[in-house]
């Protein structure tokens, strides 16, 4: 029920006068006089104006923050049992899983959480692209979100290395090799980051610290993300800024709606943790890291597959690295690449089809990352990669010229009635 109790301070603030609990009221006033804590919370959460028409795509931010909290709590408990040394990392994870009370549950929740985290992050990102959430004045919001995406990817990668199983080790190895592909400085850089030529005791310890520090740094950036959001307010599916009478309070309307979606996410989480836990990790990772034996199919977790696919389809390594890194960095330019005055893809039919193809290209690259041995897939991947760049560099800036014109509504309520 945590989503219903999300803002206890507010409900207390509201009830305090009615109950005439004078000491609580005095304390409240004492604090309020020194810092307007309660009125700020009321303004920023309870009475925060939300467009009345936002759909389920606007609930994923709340889902992500709850998953982040879950990851931090389970992560802290896991770190109490984990030993970041080459000799003991693998067996300490076995101890967590076998002997630590409820360790298997906490570890499964952390693993399921990481998968759901990335899944909802991609959905959240797609929402931004589809409804034009990056457009003025929301560029800072968009940037802080992209920085969070990068930070979470780094954290997820570092976390995957920690159990020091076969896939962990070889993931760290492939990651290092990718950096080594940078001309001139690459190999030195890899050696400097890993503390040796191959993943070793120093690398593991560094990844542990990186994983741990990043996890908490993310909270800070999330705070900035929410700060930016609360200044520019939420967008909505029409892309039209709502008038004051078209908004409703965040609480109880969106706490209730977010709560419903969170309950469904909880069910998905429970299915993963309790019934489909073998989907969460590669069975190879139950074999301890062995630097002398390369696994037959090295592949990252599903959420990195599209980028791994990009590395695979370019014949020279550095090119692959540029395209993979570029595919993410391109997103930072999207606010300027998109020159259409219309925000929402609802009223940009051609662009919307292109966006759908972009998702298809991304998924295709994921398949290529997984089964890159087939030559047909390699070419499909090259085509998909070409389309990915075509979408952002050509279609996004120029689609406005030949876009089918569809009238943008003047207000939220009109549209709602038409729908």
């Amino acid at each position: 029920m945590m989503w219903l109790k999300k803002h206890p301070s507010e409900s207390e603030a509201e009830q305090a006068p009615a109950q005439q609990n004078s000491s609580a009221k005095n304390l409240k006033n004492w604090i309020e006089y020194r810092y307007p804590l309660f009125s700020t919370l009321t303004q920023q959460y309870q009475k925060f104006p939300m467009p009345r028409n936002v759909n389920v795509w606007w609930t994923f931010g709340a889902v992500l923050s709850v998953i982040l909290i879950l990851m931090l709590i389970t992560g802290i408990f896991l770190s109490l049992g984990y030993i970041p040394t080459v000799e003991q990392a693998f067996s300490s994870v076995e101890v967590i899983d076998r002997q630590m009370p409820s360790g298997w549950l906490i570890r499964s929740m952390h693993m399921a959480g990481s998968n759901l985290f990335l899944a909802f992050l991609y959905l959240h990102l797609f929402r931004g692209l589809y409804y034009g959430s990056y457009k003025a004045p929301r560029e800072l919001l968009w940037f802080s979100g992209l920085i969070l995406l990068l930070m979470i990817m780094v954290t997820a990668f570092a976390g995957y290395v920690l159990p020091w199983g076969q896939m962990s080790y070889w993931a760290a190895n492939v990651g290092g090799q990718a950096i080594a592909a940078i001309p001139w400085v690459g190999e030195g850089l890899t050696r400097w980051i890993m503390g040796g030529d191959a993943p070793n005791a120093i690398t593991l310890h560094r990844y542990f610290v990186l994983h741990f520090v990043m996890a908490f740094t993310i909270i800070g950036v999330v705070f900035a993300h929410i700060l930016f959001l609360h200044h520019v307010k939420s967008g909505n599916p029409t892309g039209v800024e709502p008038k004051k009478e078209e908004t409703i309070h965040f609480h109880p309307y969106y706490t209730a709606k977010d709560g419903f979606v969170l309950a469904i996410v909880a069910v998905i989480m429970i299915l993963l943790v309790f019934f489909f836990q073998d989907w969460l990790t590669s069975p190879e990772n139950y074999m301890p890291a062995n630097p002398l034996e390369t696994p037959e199919n090295i592949a990252p977790e599903w959420y990195f597959l599209p980028f791994y696919g990009m590395l695979q389809v370019i014949p020279f390594k550095f090119g692959g690295l540029l395209f993979a890194a570029g595919s993410l960095l391109l997103l930072f330019l999207v606010p300027w690449l998109d020159r259409s005055p219309i925000r929402s893809s609802r009223y940009r039919p051609l662009y919307r089809i292109s966006l759908f193809l972009l998702v298809l290209a991304f998924v295709t690259l994921g398949f290529v990352g997984k089964y890159h041995s087939q030559i047909i897939l390699i070419w499909a991947g090259r085509f998909a990669l070409f389309y990915y760049y075509l979408h952002f560099l050509v279609i996004l800036p120029f689609s406005n010229r030949f876009e089918l014109h569809r009238s943008v509504p003047q207000a939220l309520t009109n549209v709602a009635e038409k729908d």
């Binding site: 009345r52 076998r98 298997w104 209730a256 069910v267 309790f274 998702v359 998924v363």
Partner: protein, 268 residues
């Protein structure tokens, strides 16, 4: 227009779930891909522990432990398992204590540098049959026998394949040539040759519950035991899971009703 929009949304949703779906599919693919060297398709069994609602036949797990103890453990380790973990197969603390006390485990060295042994406790890990990897290799033609902690998860084909190997020993056909010294003919091993000598014989183990110890029975029991060692919390996981799933589905309904109640006066 709204309908078309919905259709596209579902397509996108489908594409995304497709991406998530790659993972399990890919493992199935890996399993198939890794069997190149294994010459024959092995039989598939209906295991009670497979599937999302699977559970263990604990009597079989216990019999399998007996097979492991009396046969497999002379070469193979289960490094990550402690004696206390045996309580998970339906034994109480005293029974496990009795099992532990039959074993001597190394506990440091004395002043002369000789290893001190003492009776095992619940918190001790199972002792290894060899002093170290070098000793294990020397005794097994250069290979360390597989550790059994997660064997059914890490071996392609899992429990079915282990069962197949255990029952796959045959007389060498005339004209068959071994590539390696001291190998045995096995239908399901890579190139039909395996370094492990046929481990099971009928009546090799005397089952306390009176079950007849045929080779098939022993193989089935030890495979069940190995699946249990790979996922020792499976029963608990599924039992708690079913309860919490019902609870959370109930929550979904309640929270949905709250949402409807809250939103009833909002004109869309």
């Amino acid at each position: 227009m709204a309908r078309k929009e919905k259709r596209i949304k579902w397509l996108l949703f489908g594409a995304f779930s497709g991406l998530i779906g790659i993972q399990p599919l890919a493992y199935a693919h890996n399993d198939a891909g890794n069997q190149d060297g294994k010459s024959q398709d092995y039989p598939k069994y209906q295991w009670r522990f497979s599937g999302p609602f699977g559970t263990y036949d604990l009597a079989s797990v216990q019999r399998g432990y007996a097979v492991y103890r009396q046969v497999c453990s002379s070469c193979h380790t289960i490094q990550h398992m402690t004696y206390g973990d045996l309580m998970g197969m339906g034994l109480n603390a005293e029974q496990v204590q009795d099992i532990a006390e039959q074993d001597q485990v190394p506990d440091g060295q004395d002043a002369q540098g000789k290893t001190i042994y003492r009776k095992a406790r619940l918190s001790d890990h199972f002792p290894a049959p060899y002093m170290n990897d070098a000793a294990a290799k020397a005794a097994n033609m250069g290979h360390v026998p597989l550790d059994f902690s997660r064997l059914t998860l890490t071996v392609p084909g899992g429990a079915d394949y282990i069962m197949a190997i255990l029952l796959g020993y045959r007389e060498k056909p005339a004209g068959f040539h071994f590539d390696h010294m001291n190998h045995y003919y096995n239908l399901y091993a890579k190139d039909k040759q395996i370094g492990m000598k046929p481990p099971l014989q009928a009546n090799q183990v005397r089952y306390m519950d009176g079950t007849k110890a045929t080779i098939e029975q022993e193989a089935r029991d030890v495979t069940t035991f190995l699946s249990w060692t790979a996922q020792p919390h499976l029963i608990e996981r599924h039992r708690i899971g079913v309860r919490i799933l019902f609870y959370s589905l109930f929550m979904v309904i309640l929270v949905y009703l709250v949402k409807r109640k809250v939103w009833f006066n909002v004109r869309k």
